[in-house]
Symmetry: C2
Subunit: 133 residues, 2 copies
DNA sequence: TTTTTATGTTAACTTTTCTAACATCTGTTG
DNA sequence: CAACAGATGTTAGAAAAGTTAACATAAAAA
């Protein structure tokens, strides 16, 4: 199991995911059963979702809301992903093969400390007005 | 309960936090008891930590490693926070008073979809080399 | 030395999640 | 219409993870 970056780092339990996506746990599990998302499992068999997974579930939800059935969603996501990674640079693939989960947690720690992640709230600020009635 | 942005949005269970910080659950709970962090609680009384909390715990850990005791850490964090928010702009304070947890989850959803969050991996890439032996 | 601080360990209990089964609704198809 | 398939709800029982509280202990401070 290797995670290429924080997007695919398993962080969230299903309860948080249901709140973020407004999908039910039943739906999330069913979509996994159908191969639409593949959260990893904790030692104790609990699903752990990454940002990537959540993002994917949000896409799924939008398509569901548009009346697309699961088979259709599968296709849409497939097409999208093919479209998205046109060339794979060798460094970005092979370099990361054997990074352990622990190392990736270290990476996230480092990011939390050093990156701008904790300091750039401009997007939130900019989007805030949408949530005032 | 109002969270000003994603930094303070409660997302992680204690197990993930212990992995991210390499602190024990006992330590994390103790630091909470001493008022160093204040994770919110889920409906069922589980601690839920935000990125902000994790960041704070990482700072605490660094200070611990430097031999600072908890009383000292409390002071350091206090000074830092005072230093950090010199002026509070009215918009950034009062505008956000009544944002519900649900709204903030919507905000995170929006961010996940629209912001660059899911697309900027440059920091990870740049830091990657540190984890190769 | 005695006390305090910080952390480990354990026990009993509660919450959350898991799987699996069965129920139900809805849209499609014969 | 009737039957079926797809998608989701609901429930039960078991396992995992989290909670508090108590007691243990090593190291530092007094």
């Amino acid at each position: 199991m290797t995670y290429s970056d924080r997007k695919s780092m398993p962080l969230f339990p299903i309860s948080i995911v249901t709140e973020l996506t407004e999908l039910t746990a039943r739906q999330v599990r069913y979509y996994e059963e159908k191969g639409l998302v593949t959260p990893v499992r904790s030692k104790g068999n609990r699903r752990l979702f990454s940002f990537y997974d959540v993002d994917r579930l949000l896409e799924i939800k939008e398509l569901i809301d548009q009346g697309v059935n699961l088979a259709g969603i599968k296709q849409v996501l497939k097409v999208k992903s093919e479209q998205q990674e046109p060339i794979k640079h060798k460094e970005e693939v092979t370099m990361r093969e054997d990074i352990s989960e622990k190392d990736l947690h270290k990476m996230l720690r480092r990011e939390l400390i050093e990156s701008g992640y904790l300091n750039h709230s401009s997007i939130v600020k900019g989007e805030l007005s949408r949530f005032y009635h």
